[in-house]
């Protein structure tokens, strides 16, 4: 906890609270669209041959061992939609907790066909970690101490979300060092061809091919290794962005570049994660400077 204090700036406390008051509402509005996407997914599942449906993880085995009935599905959809809007105004822990559990259930629907993706996790974790953030707004806080405690709740909740990227970075560095030390002749992420190989395989998986112009760009020496190293570092330090505003903008920009590259060139579509990052980390206080003075 001492390490985190190195990055906490007391003068950013109010910025955290103001920014979060917007992020909280936007997360719930975005959740409505996300639920719309889940309705689409559910009907896709209904159209597929029933024999292909096979639960993978414990939550599915316990609660969705077969495709749910229309009645059950739409009951949960209606309650979730209601809670998305209701929790904007009533931030009680119990309502936000129930909403999180329902979203958790809804997210498992898509992943019963031999693959459980991590695409929805960041979205779910954003709901999970913000359950215990106090429900007051900045105007009703009357002491420095309350402001400090409140803003630290927001920091730690964001840390819970962003540590996922830090873990991703940690494994990448660990594997990289392992490969450099024990299998230095094999290809690793710092090899000249690494990004190009990854892109070629990603395209071929979808029976597509990398364009000739893009292949030429992959041939440019050093920039891909430098870009990879930059992204790995951004991932590794991501959790610190939860504690410090200035760092959070660097982390946000870096992670968005990372997701955008993957969306455009690697067929890895972490749209939901990108939107959640934007919702949580955009500096809304800049729009509303008056309240800070």
């Amino acid at each position: 906890m001492r390490i985190s204090n190195l990055f906490i700036k007391e003068d950013e406390n109010e910025k955290f609270i103001i920014d979060y008051s917007y992020a909280d509402v936007l997360l719930r509005i975005f959740s409505i669209f996300w639920i719309g996407y889940i309705i689409f997914v559910f009907h896709e599942n209904l159209n597929r041959p029933a024999s292909l449906f096979e639960p993978i993880i414990w939550l599915q085995k316990l609660f969705i061992s077969s495709i749910p009935s229309l009645y059950l599905f739409y009951s949960i959809i209606i309650i979730s939609l209601f809670l998305c809007i209701y929790t904007i105004f009533n931030k009680k822990i119990v309502y936000r907790g129930i909403l999180f559990l329902l979203l958790l259930w809804l997210n498992t629907l898509k992943w019963n066909y031999n693959f459980f993706s991590h695409v929805g996790h960041l979205f779910l974790l954003a709901h999970f970690f913000t359950i215990f953030i106090p429900s007051k707004n900045i105007n009703s806080l009357n002491s420095k101490n309350d402001i400090r405690l409140f803003s630290n709740s927001i920091r730690w909740a964001y840390a819970g979300v962003l540590i996922t990227y830090t873990m991703a970075g940690f494994w990448k560095f660990l594997s990289l060092f392992h490969k450099l030390i024990y299998q230095s002749k094999l290809i690793n992420w710092m090899s000249e061809d690494a990004v190009e190989l990854n892109a070629i395989v990603s395209s071929r998986i979808w029976d597509e091919s990398v364009s000739i112009s893009m292949l030429k760009i992959y041939e440019i020496p050093f920039i891909w290794q430098a870009a990879t190293l930059f992204i790995f570092c951004i991932q590794l330090i991501a959790v610190l962005g939860a504690f410090n505003k200035k760092l959070s903008y660097i982390v946000l920009a870096g992670l968005l570049i990372f997701h955008l590259y993957n969306i455009l060139f690697i067929n890895t579509f972490f749209y939901v994660s990108s939107i959640v990052l934007l919702i949580l980390l955009l500096p809304y206080h800049l729009v509303n400077r008056k309240r800070l003075t």
Binding site: L52, F115, H118, L125, F129, A159, I163, R204, I205
Partner: protein, 156 residues
């Protein structure tokens, strides 16, 4: 501290608590996966893309093939289908292929699934086969048909 401040204090402690709990659960997820148990959803441990794909100049993926009545074999491309986009196609067949390769299967169960999948994507074949294709990323760029095929499962 007054009552409101106390409540802020406890809420902060709980949020810190679930932060460390989630790290613990992610670690359990990781250990679970090491021992062949599934992840502790949604606390994944994020060990993703630690090596570039194709890093040993070899990649294997799976494709569906249809066999006509005249015994011609047709490759049913992963081009995206109604209700099965390209990711769905790729992951479904990879899952089937890997289970069959590991022999952890009830063969008739997987034959039925492959037949249902095939008839759904591309009807009118008399037989469907699951094929493992292996390729070198460097050579496949120059010649997209430069890959080897191995039949993993047939619906017959």
């Amino acid at each position: 501290m007054n009552q409101i401040s106390m409540s802020y204090y406890y809420k902060l402690r709980i949020t810190q608590g679930i932060f460390f709990l989630s790290i613990l659960l992610s670690s359990i997820s990781f250990l679970n996966t090491k021992f062949g148990i599934k992840e502790f959803y949604p606390f994944f441990y994020w060990k993703l893309y630690t090596q570039p794909l194709g890093n040993n100049y070899l990649y294997e993926d799976y494709r569906l093939y249809g066999v006509t009545i005249k015994n011609d074999t047709v490759r049913i491309k992963n081009k995206g289908y109604a209700n099965f986009n390209q990711d769905d196609y790729y992951y479904f067949l990879t899952g089937e292929g890997q289970k069959i390769m590991k022999n952890e299967i009830n063969l008739n169960y997987h034959k039925k699934r492959l037949k249902d999948f095939g008839e759904f994507l591309a009807p009118n074949y008399s037989e469907y086969i699951l094929v493992k294709e292996s390729f070198n990323p460097i050579t496949i760029v120059k010649n997209p048909s430069n890959y080897t095929k191995e039949i993993i499962l047939s619906t017959k």
